[in-house]
């Protein structure tokens, strides 16, 4: 079974995402706060990471930097799933190595799952 790490600070959104993603056959681990995410990304065998940007303590960019500098997660696909949408945010996330940038309110969970299945390794 593939493993996904969902980093999302809004508990309700995280619950909805998880419910839908579980149904398509993933094992889920979650983190709500920045410092928690920094630890969880070190867990073994993560196949894909869903990353929110605005988080308490460390923001998504810092977590992304860490993901890309940590040997086991260097090539792990990362979907940035955020409600920020300024060009500067999108560019920064892509520059730091995000594989895809999706604006939450503009996508359904079905479309999210589709992307996850497309990118997962």
């Amino acid at each position: 079974m593939k493993k996904i790490l969902i980093i999302e600070d809004d508990e309700f959104l995280q619950g909805l995402e998880a419910t839908k993603i579980v149904k398509s056959g993933f094992t889920i681990i979650t983190a709500q706060r920045g410092e928690e995410a920094m630890v969880k990304i070190l867990e073994p065998n993560i196949n894909i990471i869903l990353l929110d940007l605005l988080l308490p303590n460390f923001d998504g960019y810092e977590i992304l930097k860490k993901i890309r500098s940590n040997e086991p997660t260097k090539k792990t696909p990362v979907i940035v799933f955020s409600n920020l949408s300024d060009n500067k945010d999108i560019e920064k996330a892509i520059d730091l190595g995000a594989n895809k940038f999706m604006i939450k309110s503009n996508f359904s969970l079905e479309e999210l799952v589709e992307q996850i299945n497309k990118l997962v390794i």
């Binding site: 809004d10 309700f12 959104l13 909805l16 995402e17 419910t19 839908k20 149904k23 605005l54 409600n83 920020l84 949408s85 300024d86 060009n87 560019e91 604006i103 939450k104 309110s105 503009n106 359904s108 969970l109 079905e110």
Partner: protein
């Protein structure tokens, strides 16, 4: 001399105020989107029966709520585009874009709306290849989406919409046009159609949820690209919007 110093200080204050205002809009939009996403996903789960069976009447109401929620999401998207297009300090993110490919990518997004009203959208492509345009892809995408959305909204059912892209070699511009057979724009409203928050009475009658920001934002974006936007229309006779963009925009 003293006056100039005073003006400089005032100017700095205003710039700061404008930035603060933009930041506030961005932050509010982000918060709004979080709630709207939660609603969107929850309602979809109900409709998809992920949360158990619902009856047809319940489903009908959920679907109406989804449509209404989508309108709010669109409004927030407009607010954000407007926030940037109004900001003189925002730099365009210019890239070489194939506008024909871009339009091809955008049209399928309207499949649902077109089907609902049984509208046939025809994209007339010239055989000749169109040069790439130096433009901000995100902003021009907004423009094209907005014009298609309007054309569908104000079209009658069972009609046709025509999109055309041509090259104007004499001034090195690309012209995009979209023609509908809809309600048209009355003479009296023509001078106000690009005004902020303006909505023509016949448009409100047909579709009461518009923001009045669509064409205002569209014009702002086009002018930022040193382009032009204009239209030909008469009441009940349909409308054609034209957008002209320079191929080699440099800032």
């Amino acid at each position: 001399m003293e006056d100039i110093e005073k003006l400089k200080i005032e100017n700095e204050k205003l710039k700061k105020l404008n930035t603060d205002k933009s930041d506030l809009i961005s932050l509010s939009a982000h918060k709004l989107r979080t709630s709207l996403s939660a609603l969107k996903w929850t309602l979809k789960m109900f409709v998809n029966k992920d949360l158990g069976d619902i009856n047809d009447e319940q489903k009908k109401y959920m679907e109406k709520a989804i449509t209404s929620n989508e309108k709010a999401i669109n409004l927030v998207n407009y607010l954000l585009t407007f926030n940037h297009s109004d900001d003189v300090s925002i730099k365009l993110n210019l890239k070489q874009i194939n506008i024909v490919t871009l339009v091809d990518k955008i049209i399928p997004l309207f499949k649902g709306e077109l089907k609902n009203k049984n509208i046939n959208l025809i994209f007339n492509k010239t055989e000749k290849s169109i040069p790439y345009i130096n433009m901000d892809e995100e902003m021009i995408t907004n423009v094209i989406q907005n014009l298609i959305e309007n054309a569908i909204k104000y079209s009658l059912s069972n009609s046709e919409i025509f999109i055309k892209i041509t090259e104007n070699i004499s001034n090195n511009n690309i012209e995009f046009s979209i023609h509908d057979n809809g309600i048209g724009i009355k003479e009296i409203d023509k001078s106000k159609i690009f005004n902020k928050f303006f909505r023509a009475p016949n448009a409100i009658e047909k579709e009461n949820t518009g923001s009045g920001l669509g064409l205002f934002t569209t014009k702002n974006i086009i002018e930022k690209h040193n382009g032009q936007i204009w239209f030909e229309s008469s009441n009940k006779q349909g409308t054609t919007f034209f957008v002209s963009l320079p191929v080699n925009l440099t800032l």
